[in-house]
Amino acid sequence: MANSESSRKSYAADFIKSDTDQAVFLGNPLMDDMMTSIIALGAEVWANRRRTHIIELLFEKEGAVTSDMVEAYVPTAEEEAQFKKERDAFIQITYGHIARTGTDKTALTDDAIQDNM
């Protein structure tokens, strides 16, 4: 039951745990974990990029920036639309390769090496 670090009344009941952390799709559990890591890293990079943008915007608008101002900032509709465009472009450039994963498994065979000599 999850009621971390609080003595307040919990309304959580027993539950049945999933085993999804055991799933191996990519042939090697480490590959699966690395995929998760790479996506998590993408989230961190994007979060920092977004923060940098907000700092720049605030600096331009206000001439000074504090972390409270960054936290409170609500982008305008145009800024949000621009962020979204950048975010989607970032995702394409980072992960779009995977959507184009090829099928040719001969890249390292002797024939393929010979062909390129």
Binding site: R8, K17, S18, W46, I54, S67
Partner: protein, 402 residues
């Protein structure tokens, strides 16, 4: 009506803890809502419309990324995997639209790197979605629990919790791998609400989809709508939208998860809409016979066991008054499941690895099968009822015979 301000004002310790927690940032900085709301409300970054912003810029940005990534996984990766599957099947002189048993499907396409990556990436994003939220709410558990405690006895609307209630096992799974599922985590409502906001790829931040669904619910032919039941209400978004549409009606949202209805109630109080939320079972709802004019639910049945489904249908008929309307909304209440190798693969991993244990059985029932169960339960069934806003152009409606 006691304001939350009063309740929480009593606890200086809570207030200073919340202050410390958010680095002394001013609470309610960008607050735009009109409801009487106050100190226990942990909303360090204010609200945009009815969406309380996630409590840090960083978490909000991570979730912005996950929303974008999910769209990428749902569109680009799906398109690529679908095409790859079609190529593989054609190479084997088989058709990608054949309906094969899942063992066959996995034998043919399961070890293709692109096909496997399409599932892996989606699930990885799902895991990150939940863990980031889990960390936030559990990392600041005391303050968030204090916030809910303060709202428990506030109006508008009411909250009923039944922590000792017996719950069927099928409700205890970590559905869509949400940590603790609907019943086992104190922040199930918070985590569900923010986690599903990015399921909807940003199109439901203001409950737009739920407002649309509430608008689709048909009225009984005599036009009398005094009481409405929303089964499996989760964070209460549909219940609130129903109350806003039928403002004179008594609206109830019930859910097996105590933390779900607690959050739903707190959010409804915050928005200022009076719904009665209760931790109760859809199959044993404790309401009198012939009580409701409308009974509805959204995306619940695909998460209910086959036996549970029959029981919920029986109970729905019981609590409806003659002429009352039963309007279930789910994947197949308007049309049947997708066919072919890709659909089988996707439904399989969604069920097996995204923690949707009942969805294959639900898909096997399909549109016709579910409607037949409604007939078996005693409903008069109209298969061509108004659409619920999903892709299908119709939705099944059940009427309780006179």
């Amino acid at each position: 009506m006691i304001k939350r301000r009063t309740l929480v004002g009593a606890s200086a310790a809570t207030a200073s803890f919340v202050g410390a927690l958010f680095g002394g940032r001013k609470a309610n900085a960008a607050k735009t809502k009109a409801s009487g709301f106050a100190a226990a409300d942990i909303e360090p970054r204010g609200s945009v419309g009815r969406l309380e912003r996630l409590p840090t810029q960083h978490l909000e940005a991570q979730h912005d990324f996950i929303t974008g990534f999910r769209t990428f996984a749902n569109r680009d990766m799906t398109r690529a995997a679908r095409k790859r599957i079609a190529d593989i099947m054609r190479d084997k002189n088989m058709s990608p639209v054949d309906d094969l048993p899942i063992e066959e499907v996995l034998k043919h396409v399961g070890d293709d790197p692109l096909v496997a990556a399409s599932a892996r990436m989606w699930l990885s994003a799902q895991q990150i979605n939940w863990t980031t939220l889990y960390e936030e709410f559990h990392g600041n558990a005391d303050a968030y629990l204090a916030e809910m405690e303060a709202a428990d006895n506030m109006g508008p609307g009411t909250l009923e919790l039944n922590p000792d209630m017996e719950m069927p096992d099928y409700t205890k799974h970590e559905i869509h791998i949400q940590p603790g599922g609907y019943v086992g985590d104190d922040f199930a409502g918070h985590i569900y609400h923010y986690g599903t906001n990015n399921f909807f790829e940003g199109r439901n931040d203001q409950d737009e989809l739920h407002i649309g669904l509430a608008g689709a619910v048909p009225e009984p032919t005599d036009g009398k709508v005094a009481r409405i039941l929303d089964q499996g209400c989760s964070s209460g978004q549909l219940s609130v939208a129903l109350k806003q549409r039928f403002s004179d009606a008594d609206v109830w949202g019930i859910d097996v998860g105590g933390p779900m209805v607690r959050y739903a109630h707190m959010r409804a109080v915050d928005i200022g809409v009076g719904v009665n939320f209760a931790q109760r079972l859809a199959e044993d709802s404790k309401f009198p016979d012939n009580h409701f004019d409308i009974v509805t639910n959204n995306i619940m049945f695909h998460e209910v066991s086959p036996e549970g489904t029959v029981e919920v249908l029986k109970e729905s008929l019981r609590v409806l008054r003659p002429g009352g309307v039963f309007y279930p909304m789910d994947f197949y209440t308007g049309s049947g499941p997708g066919k072919g190798v890709y659909s089988s693969f996707r439904q399989w991993w969604d069920s097996r690895w995204n923690g949707e244990p009942w969805r294959l059985e639900y898909a096997k029932l399909g549109f016709e099968g579910f409607n037949q169960l409604m007939r078996d339960a005693g409903f008069e069934v109209n298969e061509n009822g108004p659409p619920s806003g999903r892709r299908a152009k119709r939705n099944v409606v059940g009427i309780k015979p006179a």
